[in-house]
């Protein structure tokens, strides 16, 4: 069993939005929508403030509430890598999954179904990296299998400090931010 994850080095990310454009191009994301985005977090008290720039998307949670709340099974965990996906022709567009995602990672595609990041599973299954990872000019994004101790992502998480977003929501997010 594989457990796909993304590890993003926030000390290298400059918020250039290449990942956003790459995703929109690769996945034909309709104009005005995005499956990934840039969040800028400023914390602390002036003048000692800290800035973190993050490329965010669906966290492909290990305990995904979007899957448990879906009444039709359209939202599901893929057999490979624990990736959370939506079967478009099973989705009724009830928006329960949108309401259950604490990250607001989903949206309704203009064709009516729930949509979000797929970890570019169509590329990953061919042995390629997700589009966003493959274009990052600062090489701050890494994709791989956490169940493989020799994978780049496993090693990075062993060597570096990191955080996830909203671990307190209890969904088990699989996007890790190196700090």
């Amino acid at each position: 069993m594989a457990r796909y994850a993304m590890v993003i080095d926030t000390t290298k990310c400059v918020g250039c939005q290449d990942c956003v454009i790459a995703c929109e191009t690769e996945n034909n994301v309709p104009e005005g929508y995005c499956r990934d985005w840039i969040t800028t977090a400023t914390s602390g008290k002036f003048p000692t403030v800290q800035l973190e720039i993050r490329s965010e998307r669906c966290n492909h949670c290990s305990e995904p509430p979007c899957v448990t709340s879906c009444p039709t099974g359209a939202s599901h965990i893929h057999d490979v890598g624990g990736v959370v996906l939506v079967n478009h022709d099973e989705c009724i567009g009830c928006k329960a999954c949108l309401a259950s995602c604490p990250y607001d990672a989903r949206f309704i595609h203009p064709d009516g179904y729930a949509d979000k990041c797929t970890f570019c599973i169509h590329r990953v299954e061919k042995g390629e990296d997700p589009a966003c990872v493959s274009v990052c000019p600062t090489h701050c994004m890494h994709f791989g299998d956490l169940d493989d101790p020799e994978s780049e992502v496993s090693k990075l998480l062993k060597e570096r400090k990191y955080h996830t977003n909203l671990p307190e929501a209890g969904t088990g997010p699989n996007i890790y931010y190196l700090i």
């Binding site: 969040t39 989705c91 949108l98 607001d104 009516g112």
Partner: protein, 313 residues
């Protein structure tokens, strides 16, 4: 201090989550109202009041049928991928309250029909003799009628609870993640239904009984709202902020004026005076209760959608 800015700009999601419009509060209100009406008419069947010719248990099922269908229409209108609606009924997802709800609704219809068959309009009896035969047969068994009453009460309670559980299962919205929401919606459904029957009942005894019952439901509802808010305020920061949306924030004016004062306190006062024969029964009180019930659903749905874990500026 933490300040977040995002480049995300998805429709229905940003700047704050607002995926559910008027359809869901209307669906939840009508579902709750029908739940209350089923419990009341079920109780009248069970307790033998059905022997009275003007018992409301004979026309409530017909009205419930119409209200439930309108509620389901509202739900259908909210779906974004309408052509696949049938997918709801090709599977049962035990973890999804919405799946439970769609199957409960399917069970409710035959029970309402069974209830309607007990008292058929004369024209229907003449036109469809088979229905008359079934109706006569049903009416000959006191036990069967009592059992229909029990099933009505049971399914009505399930339906009323489900309308609250649907929201409280969505932990991503702090205002909804309170395990008491099912009780609030069940009580509000019961008080709305009691008010509605009070408003339309032909039988004076029923009107008096339901005004008294409604006072009880309103007091419990007020108590449940209080417990819900206390539960949120003593929880995490995000839950506290969610409660503040109702107490002093964005939705406070509507909550205090329309839900608490106009929807609960004023009708409670009017009905207490009426049942103690200080004033005459007035249709104003039940109308206010019903209005408050509708607005409660809107406030809870909208404020819940607005409540969030992240503070995005």
């Amino acid at each position: 201090m933490l300040e977040l800015t995002t480049t995300r700009h998805n429709e229905l999601i940003d700047p704050f989550f607002h995926a559910w419009g008027w359809e869901i509060p209307v669906y939840l209100f009508l579902g709750g109202l029908v739940a209350g009406m089923m419990i009341i008419s079920g109780y009248f069947l069970f307790s033998g009041r059905y022997k009275e010719t003007d018992c409301s248990c004979y026309y409530l099922p017909r009205l419930s049928f119409i209200f439930l269908s309108l509620g389901m229409l509202a739900l259908f209108l909210d779906l974004e991928h309408k052509q696949y609606v049938w997918r709801l009924y090709t599977t049962f997802r035990v973890t999804s309250p919405m799946s439970w709800g769609s199957w409960i609704l399917i069970l409710v219809y035959p029970v309402l029909i069974a209830n309607m068959l007990l008292r058929l309009p004369e024209t229907t009896k003449q036109k469809i003799p088979l229905l008359k035969k079934i109706s006569d047969k049903m009416n000959s068994s006191h036990n069967l009628i009592r059992n229909i009453g029990v099933i009505n009460m049971f399914l009505g309670a399930m339906l009323g609870m489900y309308t609250g559980i649907l929201l409280s299962s969505l932990g991503a919205r702090p205002l909804w993640s309170t395990s008491i929401l099912w009780l609030l919606f069940l009580m509000s459904g019961l008080s709305g239904a009691a008010a509605f029957v009070h408003l339309i009942a032909k039988n004076v005894y029923e009107r008096e009984l339901l005004a008294k019952a409604d006072n009880g439901f309103l007091i419990i509802e007020l108590f449940v709202i209080m417990l819900m808010i206390i539960g949120l305020v003593v929880s995490t920061q995000v839950h506290k902020e969610a409660a503040m949306l109702l107490l002093s924030g964005r939705y406070a004016a509507v909550f205090w004026v329309f839900v608490i004062f106009i929807g609960i306190l004023i009708p409670l006062l009017l009905q207490l005076l009426a049942v103690n024969h200080k004033i005459h029964h007035t249709p104003l009180a039940p109308i206010l209760v019903i209005t408050g019930g509708i607005i409660l659903r809107f406030v809870i749905v909208y404020a819940g959608e607005y409540s969030h874990w992240f503070i995005v500026k």
